[in-house]
């Protein structure tokens, strides 16, 4: 089992009257190679779920085993390494660094891995080729369209060849055509063996996933596999 959440709670302001249970006893298992869509309205806890799964945040209670390792026992440094090597993030707002060019942005996770300049460049270029942007590596993010920026973000996420791709509303800021393109990339990555976790509020997008997990008020209300027709 790649990902295993057991009775996970994330509670803000615990014990106070205004306490918020963003995750209210969630248990979930995700296997290697799955394509899972986590769907829910805003405030359902899906973003918190993504933060916990992505080791960006630590659950208040409950166990999170990532590839057999108990995440709650890891130091900040070890968590950084897991984010760096195991997980590739794709965000709604792309989250590229504005004063770095495309190549430098894609190289960034490789720099934090300590990979030498030549190898780093090759790996970053390979990732950019896969998203079809190898001819625009010297551009700054602000000089590109939203779709292109999201492809840069995908290149950054896959440059380290992580086993897990986590996408938080990756199509949220894009028109439907470029949105479909981005979804296509995710499906291709899944076909090539990556585990993809897609967070979305859009049922239409969720419909393209092999497995749909529905969240409401911090609890899982539905978890079912479905037949999808990928190109």
């Amino acid at each position: 089992m790649l990902v295993k959440l057991k009775d996970v709670y994330k509670i803000y302001g615990e014990g106070m009257e205004s306490e918020v249970r963003a995750l209210d006893g969630v248990s979930l298992e995700i296997d290697r190679g799955e394509f899972v869509a986590v769907v829910g309205q805003s405030g359902s806890g899906k973003s918190t779920m993504m933060n916990v799964l992505g080791c960006l945040d630590i659950p208040t209670r409950g166990d999170y085993l990532l590839d057999g390792t108990d995440v709650r026992e890891l130091t900040d440094k070890e968590l950084s390494h897991i984010r760096n090597k195991q997980i590739g993030f794709i965000f709604q707002q792309y989250n590229l660094i504005q004063n770095l060019n495309v190549l430098e942005n894609v190289e960034l996770p490789l720099i934090y891995q300590g990979i030498g300049a030549d190898d780093r460049r090759d790996m970053a270029m390979e990732a950019l080729e896969r998203v079809g942007l190898s001819d625009r590596v010297r551009h700054k993010p602000t000089e590109m369209s939203g779709g292109q920026q999201q492809r840069v973000a995908i290149a950054r996420a896959i440059a380290t060849h992580p086993p897990i791709i986590m996408a938080d509303e990756p199509t949220g800021a894009l028109d439907s055509h470029t949105g479909h393109e981005v979804l296509g990339f995710l499906q291709r990555l899944n076909k090539e063996g990556s585990t993809v976790i897609l967070i979305t509020h859009d049922n239409g997008i969720a419909a393209t996933a092999r497995r749909v997990v529905r969240l409401a008020d911090g609890r899982i209300t539905e978890d079912q596999a479905q037949e999808v027709d990928w190109l």
């Binding site: 960006l56 440094k77 984010r83 760096n84 004063n99 996770p109």
Partner: protein
């Protein structure tokens, strides 16, 4: 992530936001430049003072002796001082100004007097900054005048005891006086008119105070005995004694005081005193040290304010770049990587600012030296290197707090920032 990577990243970040970088550096530039300028200018000024004091002569004892019967006390003092021996006293000379018209060819002290009057306009401001010839200061001296006043001969011969004994109509010129009257021709052997009397120039002193119009070199020295020819009825009451050392000055002062007591019959037939000028020089030195401390303190405060400015900007930068820090943390940057990045950025900003400040400080020091003290001052290498190291140190010290603050953010909180 290694240091080379961190440095590259810092360079990119600094170049990526030039406006912010300039603002950060401004504080350090002004701080470093002002510290350098103030410290260097004070140092130059002190050196100048010291040189001037040295030129004037250290270990001088001012002696005044006045006898009611109108006799000249100098000969007795001269003989007494010379009997003290060269381990106590090196020389003794009258220290009296003469007043006379000096003429050589078309040059005259009367015309030079006009120059001096024209230097000042009616409102008291100085008009002519250039090198004009000012009237020479005339002195009556003994054969030991040059020893007492730290003059060395550049040409010809010094006054001799025989000149004094024989009322010889000779004189020695200071370097500036020689230049004013003879331009660059050799004055030795020439005859000048002093109050209409012919005086032969027998020697020229070497230049010892090249800096101002009111130079110590603008002097003409006569044997004191000829005062009766130039200004009949003059008596010599003020004298200068040159002691062999600071310790000798103390001893000689007390001995001469004793001698004066005897000479004036314990004040009944005259009065007299002897004072060493070492004390005065010490107090001048002390004042200079005080001034360095006070102004150096002010400069240090300006540097501190510059440093606090850096800290502020770094804090604002961190707040502004919280999202960037979040992104970096999300894709795997460790806390230490973030700290390193911000530290290097701060140190580099301060280093670059320090270099610019050093250049500016050098220019400002040169200008201040020329305008304020009229001396060629270069900032000392020690001050320059010190200021640079200090600026980098400030960057590191003031970079630590914001960098530590930035690294403590949870990635998810940092990502939420707009």
């Amino acid at each position: 992530m290694n240091i080379r990577q961190a440095i590259k990243m810092a360079v990119k970040s600094i170049l990526g936001s030039k406006g912010r970088s300039m603002l950060t550096m401004l504080g350090i530039i002004i701080g470093i430049a002002s510290v350098m300028t103030i410290v260097s200018t004070i140092n130059g000024m002190n050196e100048q003072n010291l040189k001037q004091m040295e030129a004037m002569g250290t270990n001088r004892i001012d002696v005044s002796a006045y006898l009611y019967n109108g006799q000249n006390a100098f000969e007795a003092l001269y003989n007494y001082c010379n009997s003290l021996g060269s381990d106590l006293v090196l020389g003794v000379t009258p220290n009296s100004n003469a007043s006379a018209t000096v003429v050589y060819g078309s040059k005259s002290s009367t015309a030079m007097q006009k120059n001096q009057e024209n230097m000042w306009s009616m409102d008291g401001s100085q008009q002519n900054q250039g090198n004009v010839a000012l009237p020479p200061n005339l002195y009556y001296g003994s054969d030991q005048y040059s020893v007492c006043n730290n003059f060395t001969l550049a040409g010809g011969r010094d006054l001799s005891a025989i000149d004094i004994k024989n009322y010889a109509q000779v004189c020695i010129l200071g370097a500036r006086a020689a230049q004013n009257f003879f331009n660059y021709a050799d004055p030795v052997g020439q005859t000048m008119q002093i109050n209409g009397l012919p005086f032969t120039v027998v020697g020229v002193y070497a230049e010892k105070d090249p800096n101002s119009n009111w130079s110590m070199d603008n002097v003409i020295v006569f044997p004191y005995s000829v005062s009766r020819l130039i200004q009949p009825g003059t008596t010599m009451n003020d004298f200068t004694v040159k002691a062999a050392s600071a310790e000798a000055a103390v001893e000689a002062t007390s001995r001469i005081s004793g001698f004066l007591t005897g000479l004036t019959n314990n004040g009944k037939s005259g009065n007299g005193y002897a004072n060493s000028n070492n004390q005065w020089q010490n107090s001048v030195n002390e004042q200079a040290t005080m001034m360095s401390l006070v102004l150096g303190g002010i400069a240090a405060i300006s540097l501190l304010v510059g440093g606090i400015g850096i800290m502020n900007i770094m804090l604002v930068t961190v707040t502004e770049r919280t999202r960037e820090i979040g992104i970096r943390r999300a894709i795997g940057a460790e806390r230490s990587s973030i700290v390193t990045q911000f530290l290097i950025e701060a140190a580099m900003l301060c280093g670059i600012g320090g270099l610019i400040g050093m250049a500016l400080g050098t220019v400002a020091t040169r200008v201040a030296g020329k305008l304020l003290v009229h001396v060629d001052i270069w900032p000392s290498p020690a001050i320059t290197v010190g200021a640079f190291l200090l600026s980098v140190l400030l960057g590191v010290v003031f970079g630590i707090y914001p960098a530590a603050k930035a690294s403590k953010l949870q990635p998810v909180e940092a990502l939420r920032a707009e």
